[in-house]
Amino acid sequence: MTPTLFLLALFDGIAYAALVFIVALGLTLIFGVMRILNIAHGSLYAIGAYATVSLSGWALAMGLAPILAFPLMLVSAVLVGLLLGGPIEWLLLRRIYDKPEVLQLLVTFAVFMILEDVQRLVWGTRPYFEATALQALGNVTVLGVTYTVYQLILLPAVAAALLLGMRFFLRHTIIGKLILATTEDREAAQSIGIDADKVFLFTFIVGAALAGLGGALASPTTSILPGMGADMIVLSFAVVATAGLGQIEGAALCALMIGLGRSFAVYVWPEAATLVPYAIMVAVLSVRPQGLFGSSSARKI
């Protein structure tokens, strides 16, 4: 493991961790507030990617500048949040908050299956590859290895910005505080007049938009094909559970751990690369049963 290989593994790990964090951020937010692990998050991620490819493809066909792809990513993320996130919470999840948690989980699983087919019907099964946004930023060579500026600098920067932005939003804005209160104790929050329904709807839309943004940002780095949602989402489950429920900072650290773990494994023992994230999750939870930053709630008797 020469020093150059170490740095290479580090850069690859950071680039991958940034992407995993962006997706896990939305999942963590939703879970923190609504105690629902949104399995449909994977489809929202994939649809974000598909939407970006279609939008930027259409924009390029109109001869617009490739740099326009970036604002289009935000557009597709917002679209995913509003057009999909809103209705899912408002029409479906709102009616089952009193039902057992396994049923809430399964509603999101049912939505996941529906959206997987929607992707297939709308965008077909052939893989898409739209990397103009990535190419627009060009490459940078570090230690003899050429990286795309997009993956090495932009993605980690966006991830860091989202982390700090979300922290600021949650701690220093009114809506943010409402979300934190509802995350802490929903009954208490409702008893002091917080309209939980609005907070839930807002949180789910933001969460869904983050999933869409994750997909949008991932689209130039990978080929978009059916099933990409399922691969990414199972990793986000690992991140969310390892971090502890609703822990934004935890999600960031765990995404980094899992990203680095996986990329170092590729360099050291490639066969185990896909194994590493789940091994980390088991190891962390064996030491801290409520997740790295989770707090155990003792049962009152």
Binding site: F31, R35, L37, I39, L92, R95, I96, K99, P100, E101, V102, L103, L105, L106, V107, F109, A110, V111, F112, M113, I114, E116, D117, V118, R120, L121, A230, V234, F237, A238, V240, A241, L245, P270, E271, A272, A273, T274, L275, P277, Y278, A279, M281, V282, L285, S286, P289, Q290, G291, R299, I301
Partner: protein
């Protein structure tokens, strides 16, 4: 995960467990109907066989639902058993079918003990996700360690002998069909009786109050472990049967979507109901096979929509609906 299923109303006020309509008569009638499939509708034989094998695994997941715990990784035992059978067949080419199933069951139970001892310390989302993690670790092992596990293409599970006889494909599949049916009847009945037994009832108290269970002198973890092993065994037998029926075992057996599918079918059939598991599995396979034939490749959407309707309007699943109809029938008698 506090209360995962509605209280099972059919048990109320009927301590002696007389042969009620939904409890005994209908399931037996259903099984008798299925027994005629190879004669009446041979085209459906393979499908029903696969559905019943999957139903056994779903029954295992349903048992855990009874204790309010949802595992998102029970495909692990499904795959361990199937691969155990496949490895046995490559090691002993002439092995007997009973030996293959036994190897599968043994593999699943041993894996159940190893993983179980760890996961019984967790509840709710952590229990679900840790099971997922273990199944994904096994999936990665199957997918990536090509030289040991045959990698993504999996391993062939050639046709085992039956009681020393090498049958040709058609009669082997007939024997396998009726063996699956017998196992469904036997294991289904045994699971239902276990759930109604003192040990089974203690296991189900985990769903509502672990503190009181601790104060009755019982270790909640050990109680959960017993139920966990029952569910792992059921998943194991389901997986072994599926592997033998398919003739090939692939890492796909351990993929997380298959675990999610099992929970999906359990709730579709009736969360926590053993009978519901088989009904759910049959519906799931029928829709999966025939929907794609008629309605194009949207079987996932159909099933997703069907489950939404069940959860929103009939949370006790298909078996719940049947039981309400049966009770209404009995009341009118």
């Amino acid at each position: 995960m506090t209360h995962a299923t509605e209280p099972d109303k059919s048990r109320q006020g009927r301590p002696a467990g007389g042969p009620s309509m939904a409890g005994t008569v209908l399931p037996l009638a259903g099984l008798a109907l299925l027994a005629l499939v190879p004669l009446g509708a041979p085209g459906m034989q393979l499908l029903v066989n696969l559905a019943l094998a999957k139903g056994l695994a779903v029954a295992g997941v349903s048992v855990l639902l009874r204790a309010g715990q949802v595992s998102f990784g029970h495909a692990l035992y499904f795959a361990v058993a199937a691969y155990a059978g496949a490895f046995l067949m490559t090691a002993l080419p002439g092995a007997d079918l009973a030996l293959v199933l036994l190897a599968g069951l043994l593999g699943a139970v041993v894996a159940g003990v190893c993983v179980g001892l760890f996961v019984v310390r967790y509840r709710g989302i952590f229990f679900g996700m840790l099971n997922l993690a273990f199944s994904m670790i096994f999936w990665s092992f199957l997918e990536k360690f090509y030289h040991i596990t045959g990698g993504a293409d999996g391993i062939r599970l050639p046709r085992p002998a039956v009681l020393g006889m090498d049958l040709d494909r058609a009669s082997f599949e007939l024997v396998l069909f009726y063996l699956t049916l017998t196992l469904v009847l036997g294991l289904g009945w045994a699971t239902i009786r276990w759930l109604a037994s003192p040990a089974g009832q203690i296991f189900q108290t985990l769903k509502t109050n672990e503190t009181r269970l601790e104060y009755l002198g019982v270790s909640p973890r050990r109680a959960l472990l017993w139920g966990y092993l029952v569910s792992a065994a059921l998943c194991g037998i389901g997986g072994a049967l599926m592997g033998v029926t398919q003739g090939v075992v692939t890492p796909e057996y351990a993929w997380w979507i298959r675990s999610g599918e099992m929970v999906f079918i359990a709730v579709l059939g009736g969360a926590g109901s053993v009978r519901g598991a088989f009904v759910g599995a049959l519906i799931y396979e029928l829709v999966r096979t025939y929907a794609s034939a008629y309605a194009g490749d949207v079987w996932q959407m159909l099933l997703g929509g069907f489950l939404l309707v069940i959860i929103l309007f009939a949370p006790r699943g298909v078996i719940g609906m049947i039981e309400t109809l049966a009770h209404r029938g009995e009341a009118r008698k």
